[in-house]
Symmetry: C2
Subunit: 350 residues, 2 copies
Amino acid sequence: MFEDMAKRPAIWLSGEDSTSQIVLSSRIRLARNISNCPFPSEADTDSREKVLSFIKSAIDKSPTLSQGRFVKCTQLDDLDRSFLLERHLISLEFRQCRDSSALFIGEGEQVSIMINEEDHLRIQSLQSGLNIRAAYQIAAKIDEELAKSLEFAFDSNFGYLTSCPTNVGTGMRASVLIHLPGLALTKEIENVISQISKLGLAVRGFYGEGSDVLGALFQVSNQTTLGRSEEDITESLERVTQQIIEYEENARNRLFKDAKDQIEDKIFRAYGILKFARTLTSEEVLNLLSAIRLGIGEGIVKMVTLSQINEILAFSQPSHLQKYFNKRMEPGERDRIRAKLIRSKLAEGK
Amino acid sequence: MFEDMAKRPAIWLSGEDSTSQIVLSSRIRLARNISNCPFPSEADTDSREKVLSFIKSAIDKSPTLSQGRFVKCTQLDDLDRSFLLERHLISLEFRQCRDSSALFIGEGEQVSIMINEEDHLRIQSLQSGLNIRAAYQIAAKIDEELAKSLEFAFDSNFGYLTSCPTNVGTGMRASVLIHLPGLALTKEIENVISQISKLGLAVRGFYGEGSDVLGALFQVSNQTTLGRSEEDITESLERVTQQIIEYEENARNRLFKDAKDQIEDKIFRAYGILKFARTLTSEEVLNLLSAIRLGIGEGIVKMVTLSQINEILAFSQPSHLQKYFNKRMEPGERDRIRAKLIRSKLAEGK
């Protein structure tokens, strides 16, 4: 499954304009639960199946979700799940889901809905670049459309009720995927993360909660959802993101002022290795691409475009690679095939 | 001085045939002293000057040395000396020589004669590839021609008398410069060196006695000169060299059988770094070139020729680089200029 999707980069990797240089993508996630039905973790199969059928029918009625793909978890093998995780369409938790869980993927992958994950519904809206409001508007529209067919668990004091107390309130998480090589190279990143945390925002790794930082890619998101409006949350994230961009730009300016040769050397070596290596792990590719992305952002690298970099980033992920070639591969084989695919993608450039 | 020489690789780097893949060059050095004159270290200036003028006049009369360049040490600044050392035309010891010492460089640099180094005369003959006998024949011819005008210190029991007892006898050192990346990568090199030592041969670094091993390049030479004929010494070195070549080839075969992907990856990464790096030390270049030379030898690398590699090896040396651009440079600037020159040299290829 998904071999077709694997042939093109995900929506969050499609940004080619200057706003996508530092902020790769923006994401809104809304947690919703059906009133009077136990949360998935406490529900029996019958109850979960009932919730699934309610939601399926509500999706069918939503105009915004008229085009898309609905898959039940039982249809997904381990490779499919890892692929969807790499695609940022499901969560680490959803990867473990078995029966009565399902996934809806909207056309163009800008929207995905996880059913019977931690909550009955997890509505996700993705946009490339720094576009938190646009992402929120789409998520809010879907929320509204689904609410016409579903009665959401809502408390007039608390707001939306969710399986985990940290999501109670708006049930909303807004996040940006942000590339901070300057702060990483100047070692200021720890300091910035600690400041962000004090503002009530969380900084996570490349694949979200519980994942590692790879290739200087960070996810920044709100931690509190209670007692604040959706507008508050998106505005605050946007403001902080602008601030982080400024820190990052300052760090880059200092780097290019104080250590131009070393940084340029690092960037071009990364390109040389990517272009000629015969075996590459996905982690190494993320780190090499990070340097090259910095080079493109600073106008130093001309022989490869941001869109090529994004394509390589997507296809280099282990499950993407296997989906791309529609073949299960051991890590050693993957590393060779990955290096070969990258060489051919870079040769396409010029 | 020597800016013209710096534009082309040294004779010992000119080999382009398959015999120059593993053995880069062969060298013969003969130590000779003038009878009844104290050795340079014990001689006063008058005596050293007298020796110098004897030898100068003998060189002038030698048909083989009719073309060439005669320079007194006082004409050489530190950069000239380092350049000549990189060129393998002088010894580490000669670099320190002051007044009354001089150097003759034959046409094409196949011959050089150090005057008033450790001995009155050090006749050196260099050939590319494994050509110890050819190198010996040239050195012997010069020795014979000089002996017509000079009376060498010779003892019928011991042979030629020299300043250091280890050179007494033939006064000859025969050596090969050999590239052993296979033995270095398989970590068998220590074992091979210890075997060679037992056979009465010495293994030294890239620039000879007292220098480090760089880029898997080793100098193998005879240690004893007494009680053996010149033919014995050259034949024995040739035999051992053939044996080392066989060890090296076996090591390469094993590497490509057991770790083909890693070795190819190492080779191509070296090429990618060399082609794109913005700052390169000479040590790193030697190591990168070592991997690429291995790749050319094994038929893997096609995008660069052995002659380009040799050219880059020559020009990358710190003093060569400064002579090439006729400009004194600090290490940081050298590393940038070196990387730039290498990029242009590699671009010339295709």
